[in-house]
Each structure stands twice: as structure tokens, then as C-alpha cells.
Symmetry: D4
């Protein structure tokens, strides 16, 4: 994306890429500029720290972090910035994502992570939540969110009509 990114998406492993393409696609649909990066809280802790600390100065407004298993990425990022951080737990652990969900959501008092559902639905919703935050001071994004909602409702109506015939 040519524009300066407002949202930073970080994935902890390239196995998370396919799922998180959903977040990217949703931000594109809403025309919210973003960047997509890979960094691991355990394998490259310095890289995560540097990225989190430089995000606000670089103009990033919301951070979306995806990780599975022990899933420390979102928490580590939130420990190094005061930007709002959204965590997307990934499936793959012994409790098939519930473990990553608990690791992501149960932050100690003082360091918040807003967590969404495991996997695909979570990836899309992380992007929408970021867009809702951006929309607080961007009327164009606000308009696109309203449109997104209407399209979603029309899709339900269309399927219901199909059933009824």
C-alpha cells in the first residue's frame, strides 16, 4: 500500500499468514492503510520490542497481533506501547486455540489487549474493530463501515428469501 499505514498487523509465525490475510483483505475493502509484518515474541524478542516502540512515532494507530500456542505476541507488544492492541489467537495448541485465547486475553491489570475470536472470524473482526477505532476521526471510514453492515444484512435477507421459496 502506498499510503502511510494506520494499522500494523504482526504475525508470530508464517503459518498464521493465511488466516491473517483475512484481516488484510478486510482493511483493504474499508480502504484503511496497513502493513503486515512477521516477528516472534520468543525467537526475535528485540525485533518485537523495536517494532512496538516505533509504531506510534511512525503514525500507526492500532496494532493487530496474531499468535498461537503460548501466544505471548500481543501481550509483549502491549507492554511496549500505549497504542490500542488487538490480539487474534491462533488454533494449533493442545486445546486447539482455547489455549492461545486464554494466553492472549488474560493480561494482568495494567496492560490491556482487546481479544477477538480464534482464527478466521477473529481475523476479520480484528480488522473491523481497528476500523471502528480509526473511524472515530475519519468520516470516510465511518461511511464504509455503515456500507459494510448494509451489505452484510442484504446477504442475510437474500439467503432467507432463497430458503423460503
Amino acid at each position: 500500500m502506498a499510503e502511510k499505514p494506520l494499522v500494523g498487523i504482526i504475525i508470530g509465525s508464517d503459518s498464521d499468514l493465511e488466516v491473517m490475510r483475512r484481516a488484510a483483505a478486510t482493511l483493504e475493502e474499508l480502504q484503511v492503510p496497513y502493513e503486515l509484518r512477521l516477528a516472534s515474541a520468543h525467537r526475535t524478542p528485540e525485533k518485537v520490542r523495536a517494532y512496538a516502540e516505533e509504531a506510534a512515532p511512525r503514525g500507526i494507530q492500532v496494532l493487530i497481533c496474531a499468535a498461537g500456542l503460548a501466544a505471548h505476541l500481543a501481550g509483549t507488544v502491549a507492554a511496549h506501547t500505549d497504542l490500542p492492541v488487538i490480539g487474534v489467537p491462533m488454533a494449533g495448541g493442545v486445546a486447539d486455540g482455547l489455549d492461545a485465547l486464554l494466553s492472549t486475553v488474560q493480561m494482568p491489570s495494567g496492560v490491556p489487549v482487546g481479544t477477538v475470536a480464534v482464527g478466521r472470524a477473529g481475523a476479520t473482526n480484528a480488522a473491523l474493530l481497528a476500523a471502528r477505532i480509526i473511524a472515530l476521526r475519519d468520516e470516510a471510514v465511518r461511511g464504509r463501515l455503515a456500507q459494510y453492515r448494509r451489505k452484510m444484512q442484504d446477504a442475510v435477507e437474500a439467503k432467507d428469501t432463497e430458503l423460503g421459496t
Copy 2:
């Protein structure tokens, strides 16, 4: 609070009040104006709908919703507004809060809820996450968040020193 509220805290039952006082206290410490309301997604669905729809026009920027058991409050609110919604799951169900966590966080693709931890830590962090969102365009709140972080670090240092002696 005299000032026009920027954050709306909604609780689904008065049994959630004590825990959610933490969110209120944290917002007060950060001087973010808020309001605290009670409405039930199941017992007063119209009240919830009206509140959610009127929140943005009234100037509210972030909604914090606390509920236990089936825990539909945050999801129902998110279905009726495009503001960012933060869900705080409450303990009390058969899985002692894990149930409310799953009900709150597992929203279908299209309607996001940023979820925090169950109970007290979650209540404080919901307020901090709301403040991080408000701080994106409010330098004073940004400054108070930095101060909050420093106080937190000083407290850890003080306790560590105490141990060492």
C-alpha cells in the same frame, strides 16, 4: 461526572457493579469522562438497542459492556452501533467465567467485540483500552497513560527492592 461522557459502561446485572467500579475508578484516575448504566440484553432488549443506537450521536466514543453467563450484552450492543465495543466477561456461570468469555469473544465475522479478561483485571484493562483509544486524539490522556505506566513500573521496582533486603 459533569463533563459529557466519552465512554459508556453498561452492566447486565447489578451483581456486576462491584467489579465494574474498577473500570470507573480507572477512567476517573485517567480523567476520561464516562457514564455507568444498567441494561439487560435478555430482560430489557429494547433498552439495550436504544442505548447502543443513541451512543454515537450523544458523543460516546467507546462502549464497555460487562455480562456473565450467556453474556450476550456486548454482542447485542455491537450489533446496534459502529463504535468500538469492549466486552468484560463476568464469573458466575458453570465454567466460572470461561463460559462468559467464550460467549463474549466468539462473535461471528462482521460484528467485532474486543474482549478482556474475566473479572477485576478485565475491568481495569477495559478502561485502559478505552483510554488508549481516546488518547489517539487527546494528548492529555496520552500523558496520563504514560504516567500510569511509570507508576506501575515504580511499584514493581519498590516491591523487588523490598524482597532483596
Copy 3:
């Protein structure tokens, strides 16, 4: 079905359709007139509200609601009607249906949902439970339920005999 429906089956997503065809098939076998509709508690909350409020005036006597993940559909419907509501949890969430089960069954005191098992067995049993309710004032349905039970017992006997040879 030509006859005025006595049972309304609502699904929250078209991915629930295949499983819920079981409920429809069972009602057909028992000759209980029904209708099948699609509406989402989160994507089309107004549609759900309108449907629930108009169900009783339209002559519907029992509502069967199927949803997965946060699974708010049955609860939202029960909040807008005094008809008996039966919830069918769908698999697909992080806890593979257990999450939807807990979201559906753990209604707060005052707004009841009678919940059945996750998935296919639940879909069939939701229809049978609806039929048991209808049968309270419909002798023909009562007779067909008795016949259904006998067929079920004969099937077990036939299989046991097969084993024994």
C-alpha cells in the same frame, strides 16, 4: 408446506442448514406444519426481533433456534416472545459446540431456553420436543409420537437379533 406453520425453525447462518434439515424432516414425518427461516442475531437484529414478536400472533406455538459460536439467537428470540423456545447449539467454535451449548443454555433467570444436544441428534430432538408440546392438544400428533417410539424400539430389536445370529 401448505398448512399454517405451528413451529418456526430459525437458523443463524446458512452453514447450519444441512444439520437443521433433520429437524424439518422429523416434523414432516410427524406431520407437524413448520416454516424454516434465516436470521442473524448480530447481523440482522431487527429481523430477529420482528420475527420473534410476530410469531405468536401468526399462530406459531414453538420456536426452534439454531446457532453456533457466541450463539445468541435462541436467547434473543426468547427475549422477544413468551412462546416456548428450543435452542440447538451448532459446532464450529473453539470448543467445538460446547461453547455454543453454554451460550445457549446459560440464560439468566427470567428468560428460558430449552436446549438440546449439539448438531444432528439435537436437531432431531428439537423437533421431537416441539412435537411433544404440540401433542398436548393434538391427539393425532400424539398418536404419531407413539408410533415413532415403537419404530425406534423395533429397530433396536432388529439389530439385536442380527447380532445374536
Copy 4:
């Protein structure tokens, strides 16, 4: 109660009595005649069978069964009658009620049990669900259910007003 009972409440152990008094109290408030009995699926299987088989001929219309642990009571009753059966799981097992919930709700295809939440909220809601079924052909009960709902809403409004001051 002097009147012929329409609802039969059965408890599997006298330790369930205190919780199930809620179901009884709710039926009394709605003026639905009921009876309360103790019988164990494992300790007195013949008693359970006889009770279930005689319920319909005696004019009972809905059965509410409360049990914990392996929680076979509702299922055993449903196996011996075609009346609608509502199961109330009790806490106390190794999974603190979740076990009884799964034992109660996961009936095989063909023998339905409509299950409500574990414990107190479930006991109240079992009574309300029974009343919703009775109300299908009893206008007086229907009126009392509407009144119950209004009282519930007024209570929420009153508490919200209290908060706001």
C-alpha cells in the same frame, strides 16, 4: 396445592431440594399447579418408571427433572413418557455441573430433553418454560407471564435509575 397438578417436579436427591424450591416458587407465582417428588434413577429405578408412565394419564402436562453427577433422571423419565421433559442439571460433580449438563442435554436422537442452566437460574427458568408451554392453551397463565416480564423490566429500570443518581 389443592388443584390437580399440571407440572411434575422430580428431584433425584434431597440435596437438590433447596435449589428446586425456586422452580416451585416460580410456578406458585404464576399460579400453575404442580407437585414435587423425590425419586432416583439409580437407587429407585422402578419408582421413576412408574411415575413417568403414570404422569400423562394423571393429567400432568410437563415434567421437570433435577439431578447432578451422572444425571440420568431426566433421560430416564423421557424414555418412559411422551410428555415434554425439562432437565435441570445440578452442580456437585467433578466438573461442577458441566458434567450434569452434558449428561442431561446429550440425549440420543429420538428421546428429547429440553435442558436449562445449572442450578438456581435453571430452576427458575425450568418453571418459566413449563409455564410457557401451559400458557399455549391457558390465557390466564399467558397474562401472568406477560406481567412477570414487565416486573422484570421495571426492576432493571429501577436499578439503572439508582445507578444514575
Copy 5:
């Protein structure tokens, strides 16, 4: 088997047959005469009761009961006999066998069921446990159990040797 059966294996559904063939095969290997029957606690409660009551008079000494989901079969059988009852939980429910395990093992005080693992390992071990009981007064079976153990140890040694090369 021509000989009078000492062990009765009962399955709750023909979908349990493949797994329970393991129990049968193990009893055959140990030359313990058995019979294999199908009866459902919910669909054919009378059949289960009759079978359980007649087992001891017919010379059966141990009963093995396999069931999934609500898994009431072993408990129902144990309620109608004083013979030792072994329960084999089957996978297939929302908690993939853990539900059936809890339904089977959590019998109320007074009516015991000795439970083994879910599925294949459980089926084999149910047969071995039955054989250990029979062996208390049958020296030939005792000898075959000792032989079974030695074969098992030899198999481990053979595989270890293979690794080491």
C-alpha cells in the same frame, strides 16, 4: 460361542459395535465365554431392565456396557443387578468421549460402575478386567492372563531391540 456365557457385553447402539469387537476378541483369546447384545437405555428401557435382572440367574458373572453421549447404559444396568458392571465410554459427543466418560463414571453413592478408558483401549481393558474377576475362581483363565502379560512384555522387548540396532 457354545459354552454358557460368563460375561455379557451390551452395546447401546450399533455404531459401538466395531470398537467393542475388541472386547469380544480379547475374551475369545482368553477363552472366557461371553455374549454380545444390543439394547438402549433410552430407546428400549424395558429390554435393558429385563436383561440386567436376568443376567445373574442365567449365570452371567460380569457385565460390560458400552455407550456414548449421555451414556446411561452402564448406570441403568447397575441399577438393576448386583453383578459387577464395567462401563466403556464411547467417543462421539461434544466433548469427544470425555462427556460419556463423566456420565459413566460419576455414579451416585450406592450404585457402582467400574469405568475404563474411552474407545479401543477401554474395550480391550474391559475384557481384561472381566477376565481378572473370572480368574479369581478359574485357574485356567488365571494362567492365560499371565501368558497374555508375558506376550505383551516380549512385544515391548522386541520393539526396543529393533530401535537399538
Copy 6:
């Protein structure tokens, strides 16, 4: 007890003693001679091995093993004897007994442990299951088991009568 013990109860820790007194009391009520011993699979593995190997030669017919946490006691005993082994899981681990239950019941194919419920109900039922095994060749115990069942039924009847007044 003066008589030669037929049942050996082994506890893994003295914290299990209070619960397992139930097993002892039940065996006393049924006049089945037993002994109660303490040995730990992890702290005194040799003692456990020796006890298990000597049990059959000493005339013991059934072994009851109680342990919590990793709960290896029953499995270790079953690995060193061909007597029937009954495992009683104890609460106290992170999953409050469910962990001990899974450790006890999930034996690999070839080494069976008949498992009962966690805690008190399990302790009583372990004794009753042992007595059912002993009763296969002891008519007096068989008679006492029948009497135990009648007392249990009478107690339910008495409580039901009390309710009805």
C-alpha cells in the same frame, strides 16, 4: 480386623485418608474383611511393587487404590498384579479431580483399572464394586448387598413421603 483381608485399600498420601474411610466403612457394613495401607507410587515405588506382587499370594482378591494429581498408584499396582484393581481418583489437582480421573482411567491397552467417581461417592462405590466381585462366590456378602440396596430404596421412599406432606 481379625479376619484375613480379602480387599486391600491403598492410599497414596495421608491426605486421602478421610475420604477413603468411606470405603473402609462400607466394607465393614458388608462384613468384607479388608486392610488399609499407605504407599506412594513416586515416593516409595519399591513398596508399591512389593505390595502389589504379594497381594494375590496373601489371599487378597481385589485392590482399591486412591490417588490424586498425576495419580499413578492404581496403574502402577495393576502393572504388578493380575488381581482386579479399582482406582479412586482424588480431588486436589489443577482440574480438581478431573486430572486424577483421566490419569487413573486412561490405562494403555493391556493393563486394566476399573475407575469410579472422584472423592466420597467414588470411595463408597469402590467398596461396593469390590463387594460385588467378592459376592460372586460368597452368598453371605450377596445377601448383604441385596439388603444394602433395599435400605437405600427405603431411604428414598421415606424422603419422598416427607416431601409430599
Copy 7:
């Protein structure tokens, strides 16, 4: 302790202190010099990093990290050192320690944490595991471990004898 510490115990919160005193007491009993420090992976990430990086140069040989909830402490430490790291999960989260256990143990491939049980038993065993590592090149510690084991066995024997009387 006057001697240069070989083991570093780090706790993430002062609420973990009481439990972790067990680890300290065990190391004292075995005369393994240690230090006890407080640092939070989320509140003071720089302090944790610095401590982990300086541990090896300072002569520390094993690190024991105790944390609850999201429980990132052990993982963060292991990301900044090549010393062996032992994690002790603390109770207190929504899944009462199971969450902290999964957060601690499920490290991604490449960054190992050896995890022990939740709470007190885990604290003692973390110290014993550290001592087993130290003992590989310290004969005196090896001797004290053997003595510790004998005392443990004697305690079991003493309690068993007490039972038998």
C-alpha cells in the same frame, strides 16, 4: 544468602511470593545458594530482559520463573538466555491455573521451558529439579538429594505404620 547464587527465582507478582517461598525453602534445605527477585514481563519488560541476559555472566545456572494468568514470564526469560529455565504456573486465572500451565508449557519450537505443576507442589519440585541439574557437577548436592529422598520414604513408612495399628 552470602554465597553467590546458582539459582535465580523470579516472581511476576508479589501475590506469588507465599507459594514460591517453598522453592526457596527447598533450595535452602539442599544448601543450594539462590536469589529471589520480582519482575513482570508486562509491567517491566526491560527489567526482565536485563535480568535474563545478565544471569549467565553473573554465574546463575538455572532460572525458576513463577507467573499466573497469561503467564509470559518464563517464556520471556527463556527468549533472552540459554540457561535452563523452569516455569511454575500460578493459580488465579479463569481456568484456575490450567491457563497459566498452558501459557507456560506451550512454548514454540526453539525456546524451551521445563514446566512443573501449578502452585505449592510445583514450587517445591522446581527447586528439586534445579538441584538435580546443579547436582550433575556438585557431589555434595547429589548427596543431599539422596538424603532428601530417604527422608521422604521414611515419612511414608512412618505414616503407613501408624495406619496399620
Copy 8:
């Protein structure tokens, strides 16, 4: 391997072999000599005991034990040696590895097992943890661990660069 082994890897069943090849491959990459053996805590308890007791005299310094289901192998080994023992839980039980994890990690106070994640990541990390212990007195292994870490970081950087293009 020609060299005298420093690490002993024991698997409880040949079905664990494929996963544990990862541990072996990692030790080879770090040039830490090891041996791989098969022994079952339940099927060949004597073999396990002998192996554990002879490990230290034979020069083994760390033991890695892999087992699923009841997963007693690591605990049994730790009961017979004072060497550091690392447990690798295997998937396959009713709770898909979570059961084996709890069986392995929840050792009673006094007998420690350092546990790693279930399956492949756990197998690799068990080897790395063993190498971190060996490295305490082997500078060459220490150097190879540092190199391993750098390779891991370079791999993350390479993938991140790929994303960014």
C-alpha cells in the same frame, strides 16, 4: 552414535517414535550424544526401573521420557533416579494430549518432572532443554546453542523481508 550417550530418550510406545525423532534430530544437530529406547511403565515396569536406576552410573546426565494417555513414564523414571527428567506428553487420549500433559506435569511434591509441550514442538524443546543443561559444563554445546538461536532469528527476518515485498 559412537560416543557415550549423555541423554537418554525413552518412549512408552512405538507410536511415539515419529514425533520423538525430532528430539533425536535436534540433539544430533547440537552434537549431543544420546540413545533412544522403548520401555512401558505399565507393560514392562521392571525394564523401566532398571533403566532409570542404571542411567546415572552409565554416564547419562538427562532423561527425556515421552508417553501419552495415563502417561506415567516420566514420573516412574523420576521415582527411580536423581537425574533431571524431562517429560514430553503425547496426543491420543480423550483430551487429545491435555490429559497426558496433566499426568506428566502434576507430580507430587518431592519427585520433579520438567514438562514441555505436547507433540512435535515439545520433542524439539525437550532436546534443547537437555542441551541447555549439558551446556552448563560443555562450552562447545553452549556455542552451538547460540548458533541455533541466531539461525532461528535469521529465519524470522528472512520471512519478514519476504512479506514486506
